[in-house]
């Protein structure tokens, strides 16, 4: 699996990063990854600080998508609750940083906010997994928790809803959150524009590589085993509840980090992060990009959010409809998502050659579309199923 030319220390790291639980392990993948990273790093230099500031939101969301990939793609637990931890962390960050004030306050607020989100994920996860909640009920329960938070935060408009000097503000939320800063008074640096972009990019890169190491470790095997068959995994001596709780808590922490960055990016925090639309969007990102791939979720996020931005500028309220169409088309053509689709295509063409591959691929797509159309009763079906349809008519 390793190409033997790397020095031993690098080889050790490469071995930890690569494995059967991640899609891209080849030299070609890492080369493309490196090129992509160089492009990402250079982006603010080419497009300027303002554009970089706008784009950094997509990277912030990328962390949220990564958290969902871990819990859903790898462990098989569909959670609508990632935005709940995202929002909890964002609100906590706003309340703590504005109460303490200054760069030091912001520096302290970051770990506190992530900690509160992590704790929230732990508590919710504990009651779910140790209470025997499974499968679709986890999705329902996490969605309900998220919507309850929306309802609750939306009614905090009155002046009695204040923590310290910060008004929770109901629908309007908490304004005036400052750009992210690190350090103490007099020796701090504030991050905005390009600086913030690079900061988030670094965090995302670290989180991505860390997640790769995690899913290719023994723990990662356990996650995949639980996704494939939780009962079998218990009956091989694994404490499935504990592992589920651990990964749910970890992904809650990642979502929390994302939420903190979101709050500092937009300089405000409001209950819209707990709405059903925002709770669903991460699932769209991850589905589009490929949920069995960590990078897939991030790529899906950037594609969808870039398009959403474009659509909302050019077609305003129909943005979400277009996103829906894109999602449906993708799921129809590459059911496993874009990145797994590219990987499959790469393997396919390297096996069959370009020309033959294209012919075969065209055939596959045609049959797939035909099958989908037939399944909803459009076209093609008349000629192929005469006995049953005639019988019905008679």
């Amino acid at each position: 699996m390793t190409d033997g030319r790397l020095p031993s220390r690098l080889d050790g790291i490469a071995r930890k990063l690569n494995g059967p639980n991640t899609l891209g392990n080849s030299k070609a993948f890492w080369l493309a990854f490196a090129v992509g990273m160089v492009g990402m790093i250079a982006y603010p230099l080419v497009r300027g600080s303002y554009a970089a500031g706008q784009t950094s939101l997509f990277l912030v969301y990328g962390l949220l998508a990564l958290s969902l990939s871990l819990i859903w793609g790898y462990t098989g637990i569909l959670s609508f609750g990632q935005v709940a931890f995202f929002g909890i962390a964002g609100y906590t960050y706003a309340i703590v940083s504005l109460n303490l004030g200054g760069a030091f306050g912001q520096t302290v607020a970051l770990p506190v906010a992530v900690g509160v989100a992590t704790l929230a994920a732990f508590v919710l996860g504990y009651f779910m997994f140790y209470g025997g909640v499974k499968n679709v009920y986890v999705a329902i329960l996490t969605l309900v928790v998220t919507l309850v938070l929306e309802t609750f935060m939306a009614q905090t408009a009155g002046s009695e809803w204040a923590i310290g000097s910060v008004q929770l503000g109901g629908f309007n939320g908490i304004p005036g959150i400052r750009n992210f800063a690190l350090g103490v008074e007099g020796a701090s640096f504030s991050l905005s524009g390009s600086g913030f972009y690079w900061f988030v990019l670094t965090l995302l890169l670290v989180a991505y590589l860390g997640s790769r190491i995690l899913v290719n470790s023994r723990f990662g095997y356990t996650l995949v085993a639980i996704r494939e068959d939780a009962e079998r995994t218990t009956m091989l001596g694994y404490n499935v509840k504990r592992v589920k709780l651990a990964v749910f808590t970890l992904s809650g922490a990642l979502a929390g980090l994302s939420g903190v960055l979101y709050a500092t990016w937009g300089n405000y925090m409001d209950p819209s992060v707990f709405t059903i639309v925002f709770a669903t969007i991460p699932i769209v990102w991850v589905t589009l990009g490929g949920r069995e791939s960590l990078l897939g979720g991030i790529v899906g996020t950037i594609i969808i959010e870039r398009l959403r931005l474009w659509f909302s500028v050019n077609a305003s309220e129909f943005a979400i409809v277009f996103v829906g169409v894109i999602l449906m088309t993708t799921v129809l053509l590459v059911p496993r998502g874009i990145l797994p689709g590219i990987r499959d295509g790469y393997v396919f063409f390297s096996e069959h050659g370009i020309r033959k591959g294209i012919e075969r691929g065209r055939g596959t797509i045609q049959t797939r579309i035909q099958a989908r159309l037939e399944s909803v009763g459009v076209g093609g079906s008349e000629t192929e199923t005469p006995p049953s349809s005639e019988a019905v008519r008679e």
């Binding site: 059967p20 023994r218 095997y221 356990t222 995949v224 085993a225 494939e228 068959d229 009962e231 079998r232 995994t233 218990t234 009956m235 091989l236 001596g237 694994y238 404490n239 499935v240």
Partner: protein, 257 residues
Amino acid sequence: MSTPQGLNVREQPAVAATGSSRDAILSTNGLTKKFGGLTAVDSVDFTVDEGEIRCLIGPNGAGKSTLLELITGQLTPTDGDIYFDGNELTDMEPHRRMDAGISIKFQSPHIYESLSVEQNLRVPLQRTDRDIEAVLARTLDRIALAEKADEPASDLSHGEKQRLEIGMAVTLDPALMLLDEPVAGMSVDETADIAELIRSLHDDGMTFLVVEHDMEFVRKISEQVTVLNQGSVLTQGPIEAIENDEEVRRIYLGENA
């Protein structure tokens, strides 16, 4: 991750099992399970001796699978106790029972379809401190899947999936192996392979409790048979005696013959 104590538990009795004195490895005491108004298992007193292959037969709904699920901890009993290797299991979490030295092969194959055959075996092995590569090679050989080690498990035939799952359960070297209808839906040849596998594991000192309908298969592997009917033990004894028992023939074997 804790080291499965089952490994240590197992090393010593393997010697004792070959001797003539046999102790109960598993025993239940007044074990009862009610589902609402239905009593699936009705105060069952039942023992499995160390080193034997015990078959559990009975008509559908007799409580065989429920009994297995009570032993693994997937179900908690309404009343009664379960003892395994001198320890009480009744309130123990399922995964801890596996650590204590119990393993199960479910009725329908429960394997990790998207993983390769080898990876399927690595999942249980990675928790242990055994020599993973050695055990892996031996197990693959034993379940006759060495040539398919790198194939995705989803590509295996039904019989191969059953063998793979037995292999996964066996890598933990359990003292007691529970098999829920291991040859259901298998061809004659595949059934013979499974019987061979069970016998060879038994020769190494593994104790078996097998739920099975196929009497021919039972005859091939078993020394002792327990007949369950309507949640209670109807009778138990050597297979010849069971097959000639009037009542058993009437309520169970008669139906199939």
